[in-house]
Amino acid sequence: MGLAAAALAGFITVASTTSTEQSGLFKHLLPLFERNTGIQVRVVALGTGQALDMGKRGDADVVFVHAKALEEKFVTEGYGVRRFEVMYNDFVLVGPKSDPAKVGGGKDIVAALQKIKAAQAPFASRGDKSGTHFAELQLWTMAGIDIAKDKGPWYRDTGSGMGPTLNTASGMNAYALTDRGTWLSFKNRGELVIAVERDQRLFNQYGVILVNPAKHPHVKKAMGQAFVDWIVSPEGQAAIAGYKIGGEQLFFPNAKR
């Protein structure tokens, strides 16, 4: 595969999410892929919804996001060829050291959210229809809370990406749900620390899909496929596992053989 792929020099456009980009994964992964195949990868990082939208318009060759339901819809509607599972990472609940809702150190995210609402502790939400946002909404539902109806002034909808939302949380000493990757590279923590982690329900699955050349003939089919193949291959999966921040692994490869 190495030789055949090396014959395809050029670049592909991959639509992915801001949280993945900001975690620094691509800076680690893409040079390895390029060295292996000679293919340059240009990542456009947007919200999950926008990234899939890019795929539908044919402005990307590959989409690489973490919203399983939306991804499967993308394929069944004919915009993508096939979805492959790649890796997962997890979300963590961060909050102020002072911990007004007393959720620190817990392993139950649902219970934590209930306590936060009860205490009316400040909570910053992305509110931008991203994968993270959808995950957050699902967790509120699991906690039996209709957040759209029951939110009060303590719940802040920032309508922005992960970084800006964390900036807001840091500035307001609020709780927030974030992916571990963004958190590990986030430098403006203020008084925020991790409050709850490692609940099974906080795991976040990534999928990679080649944009359907039948719908968009200009899609770089061969090179895009080479990327998909590589990222689920043993080398690609090892590269993913090899990415660490401060000695901590962020992403856990789980492509099916």
Binding site: T13, T18, Q22, F26, K27, R42, V43, V44, A45, K56, R57, G58, D59, S160, G161, M162, G163, P164, L166, N167, S170, T182, S185, F186, K187, N188, R189, H216, H218
Partner: protein, 231 residues
């Protein structure tokens, strides 16, 4: 705050090739856009200043209003044009520096044209009688005045350059802020800010301001020298 500024400067001073690539791209994009906008905008402004046609007042009002085009709206519009799903998708220009130049040219053109229009109109009042007496008409008159006031038009060009270097909305949307390809100073600052790396963002911000200041200073010296020479 002072801490952040100082560590920002320190970071920037030690920063590598990547930073200078980003600075280089920013300058290339903005200067190209301003050059194109000047090429089209100066004659356009002069033509409106000197010409007499029905609806002229409306054109002037609209041109002035377009100076306030929000960059993010321009970005969105150009994105829809250049997207594969859009009319110019075939060109494959989306997410390239060329797309960024196009978006910034659209943004900057009204500024240069509107300011040129005002300057030429003011000057025309001084030159009109004499030029018409010599038999100079229409296009030739507009171009003669345009060339004669070229140094004071520098101000319009600098206004355009200021707008182009400072904006982030348009280049973010049509460029995609792709690492190593379409990442410029303003989008890098936005990215670093959202990653919470405020010292780096501040450092880059200061580099950006320093560059724009230097360009303005150079232009001022040119204007001054010309003033003394030509009167």
């Amino acid at each position: 705050m002072l801490d952040a500024i100082l560590s920002g400067l320190r970071l920037v001073a030690t920063l590598d090739l990547r930073l200078w690539e980003i600075v280089g791209l920013s300058l290339a994009v903005s200067l190209s856009a301003v050059a194109l906008a000047t090429l089209v905008g100066l004659p356009l402004g002069a033509a409106i200043a000197v010409g007499r046609f029905p609806g002229r007042q409306a054109v002037i009002v609209v041109l002035n209003a377009l100076m306030g085009l929000p960059p993010v709206v321009v970005g969105l519009f150009i994105y829809l044009l250049l997207s594969r799903a859009g009319p110019l998708g075939e060109l494959g220009l989306l997410f390239t520096p060329q797309a960024m130049v196009i978006a910034q040219t659209v943004l900057v053109l009204p500024i240069i044209a509107a300011l040129a229009r005002q300057s030429v109109e003011d000057a025309w009042r001084e030159y009109e009688e004499q030029l018409r007496s010599l038999g100079v008409e229409g296009v030739r008159g507009a171009l003669t005045v345009l060339w004669d006031i070229r140094f004071s038009l520098l101000t319009a060009v600098l206004a355009g350059l200021g707008r182009a270097s400072a904006e982030v909305g348009a280049v973010m949307i049509v460029g995609g802020n792709i690492d190593g390809v379409t990442r410029v100073m303003t989008t890098t600052i936005a990215l670093e800010t959202s990653k919470g790396d405020l010292p780096l963002a501040l450092g880059l911000g200061m580099v950006l301001i320093a560059i724009v200041l230097a360009l303005n200073a150079a232009a001022h010296l040119v204007k001054d020298a010309a003033q003394r020479r030509y009167g």
